[in-house]
């Protein structure tokens, strides 16, 4: 039995994702949400029976795809949608070969938030020659740690990187404002969660944290 509150939060989340993409780099973006009991998947409609990539243009030419996926459940208190995995990837349309992946796996034993870059590197190739395994890892197998659980990159960061560093076309001049608004909402949510984490782990810090907050407010 699916909790209707979970369905409502899923709809709101998926709408926010679609709105961000449609108003920044992908005016035709479609987002699919699937709910099965207490498990949720929100994604771009790719890879299934009817692939519909999120197409990004550079100087008017559709040169990149963006793939976005989240898996969610209720949090431990059963109040909020909680992300267990997320993946944002920029890929080449015909090969669907990733350029870069920004991933989060909540239960991963190390570096739950990481970036994987699909590229060749002469320096890394040199290092691989000294790897003890028969099949030393490729560069793309490196998990570059980014921000840990609470301060991992959000979709807005990936959108901004695509625009600033890859020259992806934007819908209009308000794109950065929309990115900043979404990122601010994300950071506030994550900061609250990080404070809860710290208080739970170090109860003695509760009064010290309160003093810091009140001192800054006043």
């Amino acid at each position: 039995m699916t909790d209707q509150a979970l369905v409502r939060q899923t709809e709101q989340f998926a709408d926010e994702v679609a709105s961000l993409l449609q108003s920044t780099v992908c005016p035709d973006a479609r987002i699919i949400a699937e709910v099965v009991e207490n498990r949720v998947r929100v994604s771009s409609p790719l890879g299934g029976d009817k692939p519909e990539p999120l197409r990004l243009a550079i100087d008017g030419r559709q040169l990149l795809n963006l793939e976005v996926r989240w898996r969610c459940t209720w949090d431990h208190a059963g109040r909020y949608l909680s992300v267990t995995d997320s993946k944002f990837a920029l890929t080449l349309p015909h090969l669907r070969e990733p350029l870069v992946r920004v991933e989060y796996q909540k239960d991963r034993s190390y570096f739950p938030a990481h970036v994987q870059v699909h590229a060749e590197s002469g320096a890394f190739g040199y290092l691989r020659a000294f790897h003890p395994d028969d099949k030393p890892p490729k560069l793309q197998r490196l998990h570059l740690p980014v921000g840990d659980r609470r301060f991992r990159p959000c979709l807005e960061d990936v959108v901004e990187m695509a625009v600033r560093d890859l020259n992806v076309d934007v819908v209009d001049e308000a794109w950065l404002q929309r990115v900043n608004e979404g990122r601010d909402r994300w950071r506030v949510l994550q900061t609250k969660a990080a404070i809860r984490d710290v208080v739970k782990r170090y109860p003695d810090l509760r009064s010290e944290l309160r003093e810091v907050i009140e001192a800054d407010v006043l």
Binding site: E11, E34, V35, R41, S43, E67, R69, R96
Partner: protein
């Protein structure tokens, strides 16, 4: 945004179709993914299969 409530049977059928499209057994697919040799659309098909595992509550612990 489109909200779907697939049945468990529909998900199992979709997963089977995806596996057949790769022409691999599930064991072969997982091994290919583990060793990082999946590329292009095969990688994303594997992603989709994993997502179905998750929706069905059949996802294994992963590293």
């Amino acid at each position: 945004m489109k909200l779907l409530h697939p049945s468990r049977d529909e998900l199992r059928e979709r997963r089977q179709r995806l596996l057949e499209s790769l022409n691999m057994t599930r064991e072969e697919l997982d091994e290919a993914a583990r060793t990082g040799v999946l590329s292009g659309s095969d990688f994303w098909t594997w992603e989709d299969i994993q997502a179905i595992d998750f929706l069905l509550g059949e996802d294994p612990d992963r590293e």
